[in-house]
C-alpha cells in the first residue's frame, strides 16, 4: 500500500496520465458552477486537498466555502501537500513521499494540469512553496543515494515547468517548506527520518535522527540558521509548519520514541532565537499518540491550529500569548486551513469538512462528499494580499 507510487508501472503511470489528460479539471459535480467565470481574487474562498475515493482512486478536490466539491483532478497516485501561488492563479499538488510526480493546476483557466516528474535520483517529499513573485517553485526532495534533503528549484515562468537547480537543506527527510515573511528566506522542516526507496517508507535511523528547522536564503541556498530541539527530543520528527503574525514558525512534530512518553509536540521557532516548546494539558496530550498531522494559522496569524488525527483532536493556541486555547474533537481530522480571521476549515478521513470558529462550540459539519477520504492537508487557495 505504501509503495503505491513506486509500484506504478510505466504503463500504469501513462494510463493514469491518460486519465488525467482525459478528465477535464472541472468535471465537478452537477452542483458546481464553472470556476472559469471566477477570478482568483473575487473573494469567494476556495480550498484544495488531496483525497482518496472509495474506489481507490486518488486526486485533488477543490471545494468552496460551503464544502461543496467544485472540481476534481485525478492524480496518478496518492497526493499530499499543495503549494499555492500568492496571487491564487495556480497551485502545485505534490505526490506523497517518496513520490515522483507533481501536478500544476491553473484552476481559473481552461487548461489541462501540467505533470512534473522528479529528476532521476530525486523523489518529491510531499510539500513545496512558491517564490513571492510566483516565478519559482521550491519543492522538498530527497537525494536518497546520499541520504540528504534538497530543495529542488523550478522555473514556472515559461510554458513548461523546468528544474533549474537545487539547494541542500542540511538535513535528512525534509518535509514542509514555507517562504518566510521577508519573501526571501526559505524555512524547511528537516524531519530527520532517513528512508530509502528500496524500503518504501521504512524508517532507517530512529536512534540517530536529528530533526531541525533550517532557515535558508532562497537566492543563494546559504543556511542562515538552523535549530534542533534538545537532545531528549531528538526523536520528535519536525514535519509541518505555519507562520504566525510575528513571523515565527509553529512546528508540529511526530514522536518516534517510546509511546509511553508524552513529549511536547508543537514548537515555536525563529531564525535568531532558540526554539520553545508549547504545553498541551496532560489529559489532552496523553490521547494524541504523539502525532501532529497539520499546522495552520488563521488569517491574522494570531491563532494557531494543529491537528492530531490519531487522537481525533484539533488543538488551538493564541500565537501572541502562547496560551493553549482548547481542543475540538474531529474524528480522523487532519487537514486544517484558515478561512478568515476567526475560523478554520478542517477536513477528515471520513469525508467531512468542518467549520470551527470557537474551540468551545461543536464543530459545524458543512459537507461530507460521499466516498471521499480527505488526505492529510487542506489549503486555502485565496490570493494573499501583499503585506
Amino acid at each position: 500500500m505504501t509503495e503505491a507510487i513506486r509500484t506504478v508501472s510505466r504503463r500504469g503511470f501513462l494510463a493514469a496520465m491518460g486519465s488525467l489528460a482525459a478528465a477535464p479539471v472541472f468535471s465537478g459535480s452537477t452542483l458546481a458552477a464553472s470556476l472559469l467565470n471566477r477570478e482568483a481574487a473575487d473573494g469567494v474562498p476556495l480550498f484544495a486537498s488531496a483525497y482518496r475515493k472509495a474506489d481507490g482512486e486518488f486526486g485533488v478536490g477543490i471545494v468552496d466555502e460551503l464544502g461543496q466539491m467544485l472540481a476534481e483532478i485525478a492524480l496518478p497516485g496518492r497526493g499530499h501537500g499543495i503549494a499555492v501561488a500568492r496571487d491564487g492563479s495556480r497551485f502545485v499538488a505534490f505526490a506523497r513521499r517518496p513520490g515522483t510526480f507533481a501536478v500544476v493546476v491553473r484552476p481559473f483557466e481552461d487548461a489541462q494540469p501540467e505533470l512534473i516528474t522528479s529528476d532521476p535520483g530525486r523523489h518529491f517529499y510531499g510539500h513545496g512553496c512558491f517564490s513571492a513573485d510566483g516565478r519559482l517553485l521550491y519543492a522538498v526532495e530527497n537525494d536518497f543515494a546520499a541520504a540528504r534533503g534538497v530543495v529542488g528549484i523550478y522555473d514556472m515562468s515559461g510554458g513548461a515547468t523546468r528544474r533549474i537547480g537545487e539547494f541542500e537543506t542540511n538535513g535528512i527527510g525534509p518535509h514542509d517548506i514555507l517562504l518566510g515573511p521577508d519573501h526571501r528566506t526559505l524555512i524547511v522542516a528537516n524531519g530527520g527520518i532517513e528512508t530509502h526507496p528500496d524500503n518504501g517508507r521504512e524508517k532507517l535511523n530512529l536512534d540517530t535522527m536529528a530533526p531541525s528547522v533550517a532557515f535558508m536564503d532562497s537566492h543563494t541556498g546559504d543556511i542562515l540558521s538552523q535549530h534542533g530541539l534538545e537532545k531528549d527530543l531528538h526523536q520528535l520528527s519536525l514535519r509541518h509548519m505555519a507562520l504566525d503574525a510575528k513571523g515565527r514558525v509553529w512546528v508540529g512534530g511526530q514522536f518516534e520514541g517510546s509511546p509511553d512518553e508524552v513529549p511536547p509536540l508543537v514548537g515555536v521557532f525563529s531564525r535568531d532565537a532558540e526554539p520553545e516548546t508549547t504545553v498541551i494539558p496532560e489529559a489532552v496530550a496523553s490521547g494524541l499518540q504523539n502525532y501532529i498531522g497539520s499546522v495552520a494559522a488563521n488569517a491574522g496569524g494570531d491563532v494557531i491550529a494543529a491537528s492530531a488525527p490519531r487522537g481525533g483532536q484539533t488543538l488551538f493556541w493564541s500565537a501572541s500569548s502562547g496560551a493553549y486555547l482548547g481542543a475540538r474533537a474531529i474524528p480522523d481530522g487532519c487537514g486544517v486551513a484558515r478561512i478568515d480571521q476567526g475560523s478554520f476549515l478542517i477536513s477528515d478521513g471520513n469525508g467531512a469538512l468542518s467549520l470551527v470558529t470557537d474551540p468551545d462550540d461543536p464543530a459545524e459539519i458543512l459537507a461530507r462528499p460521499p466516498g471521499i477520504s480527505w488526505d492529510n492537508h487542506l489549503f486555502n487557495l485565496a490570493k494573499i494580499d501583499a503585506a
Partner: protein, 357 residues
Amino acid sequence: MRLWVFLAAAVFFATPSPAADFNPPLERLIANYIRPATAEFAASVEKLPGAVTGICADNRPETAEAFRSAYSGSLQAFSRIQFLRFGPLLEDDRLSRLAFLPDPRGIVQRQIRKIYAQKDPGVGSAESLKDKSVAVQGFPALQLIAFDKDSDVVLGRPGADKDYTCGYALAIALNLAAIAVEVDADWADPDGYSALLLSGGPQNERYRTSQEAMEDVFNALVTGLIIVRDQDLLPALGASATKAKANRLPFSRSGNSILYLSGELQSIQNAVASLGLEAVTPSDFQWIFNALGFEFGNAQTLLSELTPPLRQTFKDDDAYSRISVLAITVKSIRDTMALELAGALELAGGFNALDGD
C-alpha cells in the same frame, strides 16, 4: 522444560498471526443485511409516486395520511442503507441525489427557492430532474415542498403553485424510485460490487486481502455512527439548552427525526450482527458484543421516550437531556467499535490516523 517454554514463546511471538479470512463475515453481511435492506428500500420507495399522485388528484385527510406514511416508510428504508457508503450508493452521485446531507447552510432551500422563482420546468419530470443539482433531487427536497414548518402535509393543497409542486414532487418520487431500483439491482448482481468486495486477494486491485475489504466496510459503519452524533445530534444540541435548535435534527420538518435516527442506529446494529464477527474475535474480546448490544439498546430506549415531532416537543419535558445522553451513548458505541472491536480484529482505522505523514 524452561528452555522449551522459552522457545515456544519465541516462535509464538515471531510468527505473525495469520490474517483472518473476512470473506465469510462479508458474505453474511451482503446476504443477510445489505441485499434485504436494499430490496426493502426499493419496495418502499416504489409506493411513493402513487402516494404523490393520490394526494395531488384528491386532497383529503386519507390521501394526506397515505402520503405521510409513504414518505416516512421510504425514509425509514433509506435510513437503513444510507451508511453503506461504498460501491453502488456512490455510483452516479446516488447517495447525494437521494439525500443531500448535511446541509447546515440551507443549500436545498436556497436552490428550491430559485427554482420556484423561475418556475424552472426542469424539475417537472424525473428524466430532467436527474440532471439538476443533486441538492434538489431527493428526500430533503421532497420534504421541503411537501411539508410545512409545523410538519403538516401541504402537498396537493389548493394554491397557485399546486400543479407545479405536484409535478416536482412526482418527479422526485420517481427519481428516488429509479435510484432505489438501481441500488438494489447493483447489490443483487453477483458479478457486481459484491464480487469485488468478496474477492480480496493479490489479483484484486482494490482489495489486496479480505481484511482490506472488511476495513472499508467497518470504517463505513464507524462513519455511520460519527454521522449520527457529530452531524445529526450535536448541531441540534448546540453549546447549551438555550442554544438548541430542534429544526437542525435530520428530517425534523416532516416529523421524522426519531424514526430516522432510530433507523440509522438500528441498521448499524443489525449490520454488525449480520457480520457474525464473534466467530473471528478472540475469546478475551467477546464481551464487546454484549457491550454493544447493551449500548445500542440504551440508545433505542432513549429514542422511544421521545415524542414526535421533535420540533414541537423539544422544549418539553426531558427531550434535551435525553438527546444529550443519546449523543454520549452513540459516542460510546463508536469508541467500542472503533477502538475495542477494531483493535480485537486488528483492523486499521481512519485514513489519516492510520497512515499519515
